[in-house]
Subunit: 358 residues, 2 copies
């Protein structure tokens, strides 16, 4: 089955130079993909030419006259730039022309535009960014929110836990993965009011057999693999993710410098190059690029703004896999069942809620 993916080519720090190049590379190795490259036609065609793919049969260009900048306020992205590459790319999913969309653009804008265009799933108040980090148990630690919601109430963290549980369950084919709540300590008394109240909600769900709540986890538990899923607000999640990536790069530099520091070390590095390659693979932060916007009625993946071609290809890969496995259909039913019924006093109009993210 062919999977169609729309790409917001103008998004990210490097624009088409990265996004188009990555799409071309992916199309060359994956016969089951078709791309809709969205953005300034001229720029996209120039990049396609550079990548010897002007006539690629599975790559189509869709012109969008505007670009959401990294420092555009959400209102601008949402109201003033109606023909932005971001919005047009997301609209391809809404209209069924694509099964997934990938963007490296401004996170807040992408979330607002996606919510506005695609709407949220039943019972979901705020979508979250969902991603994975490596751990010592040689499996991923799934984590959310990685940056969509910089201010969260217990209700939101509770919903993130349910969404994460359902998605991981669908992805890994097993019931009730374990959930940890990111905090400054394991003990119940630790943390601020928001996490304490969230813990109460999650414990209640655990007792009712709905979720497998482990309890509080700390920063180091992410890499220990203490729980399958780690739930936190988007501020903490984003900082932690980027800190981990920064540390990954630091490790790489330290390794390279140390192994180049003397002829003996160089020799050792040549002999043990297999080990070094395997370390580099495990530690490469690019392998973990691509967070899914969870809770929407459509698949949208967010790549880091600073992603290079290799890293952007990973985000495309993630989106491709999610669409291929039909994750969306698989989770939306379970989600509707598990989600606590929204308080009727709280307006949950999707068009309104899209405006709330700030």
């Amino acid at each position: 089955m062919t999977i169609k993916i729309s790409i917001d080519c103008m998004g990210g720090d490097h624009g088409p130079a990265v996004t188009v190049a990555a799409a071309v590379a992916f199309a060359k190795r994956e016969p089951d993909v078709e791309f809709l490259l969205v953005g300034l036609e001229e720029n996209i065609h120039a990049e396609l030419k550079k990548n010897h793919a002007s006539q690629h049969p599975r790559i189509k260009v869709i012109h969008a006259s505007e670009t959401v900048e990294m420092d555009d306020p959400i209102e601008v992205a949402l109201r003033r730039k109606k023909d932005s590459s971001m919005r047009v790319a997301v609209t391809q999913v809404k209209e069924g022309n694509a099964q997934a969309c990938v963007s490296a653009g401004n996170t807040g804008a992408l979330m607002a535009v996606s919510r506005y265009v695609l709407k949220t799933m039943q019972g979901v108040d705020r979508p979250a960014i969902f991603g994975m980090l490596p751990n010592q148990k040689n499996k991923p630690t799934y984590m959310l929110d990685l940056g969509a919601n910089v201010d969260c109430e217990p209700l939101h963290l509770h919903q993130f836990a349910i969404m994460g549980s359902v998605l991981v369950s669908a992805l890994e084919g097993r019931e009730k993965p374990s959930i940890g709540l990111l905090n400054v300590g394991e003990e119940d008394i630790k943390g601020n009011d928001v996490v304490k109240k969230t813990a109460q909600l999650l414990r209640a769900d655990h007792e009712r057999g709905l979720l497998n709540f482990y309890g509080n986890v700390e920063g180091n538990d992410i890499f220990k693999g203490t729980t399958d899923i780690v739930v936190c607000d988007g501020f903490v999640g984003n900082v932690t993710l980027k800190a981990a990536e920064g540390m990954g790069r630091f490790v790489k530099t330290t390794l390279t410098e140390a192994f180049k520091s003397s002829p003996l070390n160089i020799l050792g590095a040549i002999i043990a190059r297999g080990a070094l390659k395997s370390i580099s693979r495990t530690m490469n932060p690019s392998n973990y690029n691509g967070g899914s916007l969870l809770g929407l009625r459509g698949i949208v993946f967010k790549s880091h703004g600073s992603a290079d071609k290799y890293s952007y290809e990973w985000a495309i890969q993630r989106a491709f896999d999610a669409a291929k496995n039909d994750v969306l259909t698989r989770i939306s039913t379970s989600m509707a069942i598990l989600m606590p019924v929204a308080d009727p006093a709280t307006p949950d109009n999707n068009d309104q809620t899209a405006q709330k993210i700030a």
Copy 2:
């Protein structure tokens, strides 16, 4: 000059088994230190015996009948356990019997007890935990708050920036180190209200020539060494620090496994053992243990609860260096000058504020 350090021997996950052993090891290599080991006499003496230091001329035991547990609420530590090892150890600093105190106990309790016993410096509303992380520029990134204040207002983050600036200036002997505000993006529009308002305060100070404010930094900037100091609230700081430590351990495991995975890799590791040692030294999270409680009228260092003997020794080393360099006197004057004058409407009674940390 002899530096006297009081140790809360009962604090931390391992109690005297780690704290006493670390103090003995430190005393054996550092002739200019004297220890006051505070806690349950019997337990401390038993550990001293195990470490062949029962009659050590520079180690004195002070009995304290109670212990603050890791899950004790702050009120319990503050009001009900007046003879706790933590409180008695901090009191040694207050009474001039010790120049610094080290504890691996419950962070919230240590902060509350230290504030209550020692009081805060003039102009400081809330002390913060100050520590350092390694970066690619081969110098430390100083970071605060690492866990004392899980909820912060712009006023507090502003004070942390001033305290950090003065301390780093004193430690490194240069004017106005650069300050970054930890956020989810570099752009001014990024983040929640608290960081946005803090950025305004810091920009105003920068324009008045009081501080060197770089602007927003992201998680990866900590390890890039973009700024000398990174300011954040205690929740984010604590999670980030522990995540970095967890990742450090993950790197170590990955390295060890990769280099043991085949005879060729083992050979390479033997030949390049110099490189591996240097990597292990740079990456060892224990080297970064020991955060100072900044903003108090006395030197208190917090070690991680889970610290082992080696790691705890580092916390002692930090406290020893701070006392030896008389950091406290050097910073308290500058701090009083730089600190914005507190709103007289806000009560700033130390005894009252000690109760606010929750």
